[in-house]
């Protein structure tokens, strides 16, 4: 419901903005070009220059261990993505500001320049790729099914999943997998809430990222009574930028350099995600 | 020279003519009673005198000087209306006391506001005068009561004191006893009667025929927005010449 509302608003605003600005992103195939071309379109400007000009790279993210999170009693964001983002900021010569965003609004946040990048273990799906320009994949991931540990042995196959009540983050890669399998679900606004649903017994199962499942469930974690069973797919993480932004190329180049220098591996090892890093 | 001279007043609301060619005059110290059935235009006439309605035609003079002339915009300046209103006082049918003020505060409020603008009296003097007025109304012990703590008759007497506090040249009453229970009308009429004895200049719109006859020096009978008959009370009320006056009085006699 909420997702539809947002989509509707977004669509309405896009239509209006396109109408107002003269189809700046459409190829405008058959009609003749408008006599006057807009003096400056965002795509024509350098996004790198824009970010360097204001001196801050604003990274939109959510609280998502082990990629972005805060240690007990600390106000500083840490995690694999957070640390890499700071390294990228240093590479550009700018400060990095982290903003916790409402994940549903990530495309609007980017488009309106409220943030400059979505960098938060974002799965590269057809949907995210259509909403923003994404970097090359940097990390492997999978969608896994989480259930109560004491019932885990009943749900080891995809076939056994039908009939379970699922909770899943709205619009996430997990939701996409359930759609493919034609399994109905209750949409939550974060993966963490989907987990909470299962822990509280409100839903039988949820689908979350493997990286998150590794960090947050099982013995010695916040949810010791949960475990993950079926792996539904394998997928890749990427960083999202504005459409047409030259930050994409800048990022890919930076990453290659950092990978070759061993920086990526060092930081990945710190947060236990070194197995998942995409080899360059 | 009459203190008030009303000439050829006309007033209509949309297409409805409510006052037609109203003329009369009033001498200092005299009282006029205006009688007539509901909708005859009595109340509208009082409201015109108090600038609550603007006449469409005619003029009004007080003490020989024109304070309103429908054909002369210079007499209708918004900025002067406030000053001109002070020639008149108006006692409403529904009292319209200010509920958040005590009886005494109701009486003194407007005079204090005026004194603040113009200087002159002190707050203490105004309050002293207010208490005297309330005493005159027989309400000395009700000065610190709020309106909702007073009976209708007491509220109307406070309203009379409030109007008197500004020393108007002419005091107008708009059916002052119509909203009262019958047993409470006496105390209000008694107060008005004593004001007449003290030669207060008054215009009283009323349904109390006996009272109108006793208290007034002149009676005006209105019907359908025109003055049908005017003259001394015993003439208009006891020996009416006009057929419409006779019919009206006959209906009252039956009731």
């Amino acid at each position: 419901m909420m997702k539809k509302l947002f989509a509707l608003l977004l669509a309405a605003m896009m239509v209006l903005s396109l109408a107002a600005c003269g189809a700046k992103e459409e190829p405008a195939p058959q009609e003749e070009q408008p006599a006057e071309t807009p003096a400056e379109t965002p795509a024509a400007e350098s996004d790198v220059a824009y970010v360097q000009d204001k001196g801050t790279l604003v990274v939109g993210m959510t609280d998502f261990a082990p990629m972005d999170y805060k240690l007990e009693g600390s106000d500083e964001w840490v995690g694999f993505d957070a640390d890499m983002a700071r390294t990228f900021g240093a590479h550009l010569g700018v400060d990095v500001e982290f903003v916790e965003i409402n994940w549903d609004n990530k495309a609007m946040e980017l488009e309106t320049k409220a943030i400059d990048a979505v960098w938060n273990g974002m799965t590269l799906t057809e949907e995210t790729k259509s909403l923003m320009d994404c970097s090359d994949p940097y990390c492997m991931n999978a969608q896994v099914v989480v259930v109560a540990a004491d019932k885990a042995d009943q749900y080891q196959t995809v076939e056994s999943l039908s009939g379970l009540n699922f909770a899943v983050e709205n619009g996430s890669a997990g939701a996409e997998q359930l759609d493919i399998l034609n399994i109905p679900y209750t949409a939550m606004d974060t993966q963490a809430k989907a987990l909470m649903e299962v822990a509280a017994g409100a839903s039988d199962a949820c689908v979350i990222d493997l990286l998150m499942a590794g960090a947050m469930i099982g013995e010695g974690t916040s949810y010791p009574d949960l475990t993950y069973t079926v792996q539904l797919n394998s997928e890749e993480y990427g960083v999202g930028f504005r459409k047409g932004s030259d930050l994409v190329a800048s990022f890919n180049e930076f990453w290659k350099g950092a990978y070759d220098a061993g920086t990526v591996d060092d930081i990945a090892t710190t947060y236990g995600v070194d197995e998942a890093i995409v080899k360059k | 020279m009459p203190i008030l001279e009303v000439q050829h007043i006309e007033k209509h609301f949309g297409a409805t003519q409510v006052l037609t060619d109203i003329s009369f005059s009033l001498e200092q110290g005299q009282t006029i009673s205006i009688i007539g059935s509901s909708g005859s235009g009595k109340t509208t006439l009082l409201r015109c005198l108090n600038f609550l309605e603007k006449p469409d035609g005619g003029s009004i003079s007080v003490n020989g000087s024109i304070i309103f002339d429908a054909s002369d915009p210079k007499t209708q300046l918004e900025s002067e209306i406030r000053q001109k209103r002070l020639h008149f006082g108006l006692v409403f049918q529904n009292f319209n006391l200010f509920p958040q003020y005590t009886a005494l505060q109701n009486v003194t409020l407007a005079r204090e506001l005026l004194a603040k603008e113009r200087g002159g009296e002190t707050k203490v003097q105004i309050e002293e005068a207010g208490r005297e007025l309330l005493a005159q109304m027989g309400l000395a012990d009700r000065a610190s009561h709020y309106p909702h703590q007073l009976s209708g008759g007491q509220q109307q007497r406070v309203a009379i004191a409030r109007a008197l506090a500004l020393h108007p040249d002419i005091l107008c009453f708009d059916e002052p006893t119509s909203a009262l229970d019958p047993e409470l009308t006496g105390e209000v009429l008694k107060v008005i009667r004593s004001l007449a004895e003290q030669k207060t200049t008054m215009i009283i719109v009323t349904h109390e025929m006996a009272f109108a006859r006793d208290v007034a020096d002149q009676v005006i009978f209105m019907d359908g927005g025109v003055i049908v008959e005017q003259g001394e009370p015993h003439q208009v009320i006891d020996h009416p010449r006009e057929e419409r006056t006779k019919q009206f009085l006959a209906r009252y006699a039956e009731a």
């Binding site: 903005s17 916790e100 609004n105 | 406030r82 200010f98 958040q100 409020l109």
Partner: protein, 212 residues
């Protein structure tokens, strides 16, 4: 743990309170101006004001927050307002419209006779407003205003949609750490604050009970 959570929720509640107080500070007077517009004798002004009030009161506050924050960027490629400012602007406009209707109801419920009594006593319009009608209007609007204030406190929770970190956001962030109770604990802050507001308003009503 309770202390850490309480401190962090208090920080979120600080944002909630700031939004609440600043909204009132601007929306209360702005509402009065809007109510004068909606009672104006100038017909186009009256209809324009009433149309705006209808749109603001008739559409979800949540959408208004999104439009005010993202709208300038999406529609005109303009720089955005800071998140808190956008939330505050939306709340001020939204609540000013609600307040304007309460004022209008209060002002129009004062009998004509009160104005006329003031007029025949030679008072100016200003004097009549401040000395005669104002307190009567206040007495009449205190109960509906009390309701609006309490609704406002709870409505502030909506601003987390544009990432203003108010108390519910702070409570929810603990879910990611596996703690569910802080989210429900936020209710205590709302209950205590709304309890204080309720006491304040019933005290005010009592204070104004001396006249009818």
């Amino acid at each position: 743990m309770l202390l850490t959570v309480t401190m962090s929720l208090l920080e979120g509640f600080g944002t909630t309170l700031k939004l609440f107080l600043l909204t009132l500070l601007f929306a209360l007077p702005l509402g009065l101006i809007i109510s004068f517009g909606s009672m104006s004798r100038i017909t186009p002004l009256r209809w324009m004001t009433r149309t705006v009030v209808w749109i603001i009161r008739g559409s979800p506050l949540l959408l208004q927050i999104l439009v005010v924050f993202y709208g300038p960027g999406l529609l005109f490629d303009l720089p955005l307002l800071p998140r808190f400012t956008a939330a505050l602007v939306t709340f001020i406009i939204n609540y000013a419209c609600y307040f304007s209707e309460i004022y209008r109801g209060g002002i129009q419920s004062i009998p004509r006779g009160q104005y006329e009594a003031g007029q025949v006593l030679g008072m100016t319009k200003r004097q009549i407003f401040f000395k005669v009608t104002l307190l009567q209007v206040i007495k009449r609007i205190v109960p509906p205003m009390g309701n609006e204030f309490i609704t406002l406190v709870k409505d502030t929770a909506l601003v987390r949609v544009i990432s203003v970190y108010e108390i519910i956001w702070m409570g929810e962030s603990y879910i990611k750490k596996g703690l569910i109770w802080p989210l429900f604990y936020t209710a205590v802050f709302y209950l205590v604050f709304n309890g204080l507001l309720t006491i304040l308003f019933s005290w005010l009503e009592k204070k104004l009970d001396y006249f009818k």
